[in-house]
Symmetry: C2
Subunit: 272 residues, 2 copies
């Protein structure tokens, strides 16, 4: 089956480049190589931040050679449940143990993760807990790995970790619109884009909140494998997801009143 798909892929690559029109030598290279993909998780990772993008990648892995490393401080189960953290300044850390606690298994640590081509950093309330605990292990990993990565992606409040690591300095980025003020006070000289489903600046891609990660991932994979890549199109039809393909589509910047929040209320505030 795989040999058959590879043969079909080979035919497509050798004969249909002109027909497909928008494919580049880079797309061809990406279709042939084994892509080493990493996803960072931490206590309080947001479920769909991880599993939206991962679903498309999972489907593609039936055809394209992709490896996945799920990277955390330690290997083993890591809960999406909110860790205790301070929600209201001056108040003690709140207990969220009553919330749901699905656990995904981390396969690698920051110490033993393999060489990576693409690294995705999800968001989640856990990013706040890490910050309050002065835990900068993710930022250190990002700085150590950035040069050797082809691409660095973040979903939702994951961009706060990119910003704190310094990797967004001088770049355009976006983030969750519901927590806009809490994220955009991170980093120096970041052009935070208040209305965007996702942004793309050099090798860094950042998405808005949670579900937007699926749309960013589709746009990113078109960039990687080709605008009209038949394997990617089949994957999207297979998972029955109709992606938002306009990076400027962002009704949630209006719902969450981000422009007003940003210009009138200032940073760190949440519009009601």
């Amino acid at each position: 089956m795989r040999a058959f798909l590879a043969a079909v892929g080979g035919l497509l690559l050798s004969s249909a480049w002109l027909a497909l029109g928008q494919n580049t030598p880079e797309n061809e290279f990406n279709r042939r190589r084994t892509l080493s993909f990493g996803i960072i998780i931490f206590p309080g990772w947001e479920p769909l931040d991880v599993f939206g993008p991962l679903e498309i990648l999972f489907s593609l892995s039936a055809t394209y050679k992709i490896t996945l490393s799920i990277i955390a401080k330690e290997t083993g189960p890591v809960s999406a449940g909110y860790p205790p953290h301070i929600m209201v300044p001056g108040q003690p850390p709140a207990d969220y143990s009553y919330m749901l606690q699905p656990k995904l298994v981390a396969t690698h640590t920051f110490r033993d993760a393999p060489a990576l081509d693409v690294l995705l950093v999800p968001g989640g309330v856990g990013t706040m807990a890490l910050e309050q605990a002065n835990d900068t292990s993710i930022e250190t990993f990002l700085r150590n790995r950035f040069e050797s990565l082809d691409y660095l992606l973040s979903v939702c409040t994951g961009s706060a970790l990119l910003a704190t690591s310094g990797l967004l300095d001088g770049r355009r980025a976006t983030t969750n619109k519901a927590l806009w003020g809490l994220v955009t006070n991170h980093g120096e000289n970041v052009t935070w884009v208040p209305s965007a489903r996702w942004t793309h600046d050099g090798k860094i891609w950042t998405s808005s909140g949670v579900a937007s990660g699926i749309d960013m991932m589709y746009a990113f994979l078109k960039h990687l494998y080709g605008e009209t890549d038949p394997v990617l199109i089949a994957a999207m039809n297979g998972i029955e997801y109709a992606p938002h393909t306009d990076p400027d589509w962002d009704p949630f910047s209006i719902v969450h009143n981000v422009r007003t929040c940003n210009s009138l209320l200032g940073r760190g505030q949440q519009p009601s």
Copy 2:
């Protein structure tokens, strides 16, 4: 924080029923009770079938009392990776170990799962492997629990398991449009709806493929908590997902040519 939200909820419940208009005493009951929610997993569960619906539930669990049991044959990590199974009749089982293998931790078994109010059955290629192995443990669990459930939900090819269990007899249901023929040859006297994002017949809800589970879950939670439930609306805006709210919206029945498949090619066939 939780007490505050509960107080706000109480105010809403006592004063705003008329204003909200579409809420019922059942909605009020559901907002106050602890909802015991179960999700079945098996080797080869489809990632977004589980984590699309689960994302909304996860968000709601910050406010509403919800417990989650992730139920499998044994507790511990269960891989989404395709188990070896026969893809082409007459051929030996194919090996899919090169595919991605994210692992979710099962918290309960079919033997020790607690009493459940709602049970969700995802799909995934694993349903085919179970069938080929004559493993009917899920169907047995479904038949044993159905009477005591308030609702039974399936996503994607999960409806094949409901059909084989006999629980869809005499009911309307839908399933993945890419694998339509492979699912709809299960069950007796099932009215398989070829064009539907999801269906709802009595206490059974079934969705189309993969991503459609998010839309079904939103519709289901409106049914449970109220059409204009502010907590649910805030959750959807928080995860920045614009749901498809029309159960008849189904471009993928056209993409996958399901009507032609059904009427001209017959069951068990896959349109090209």
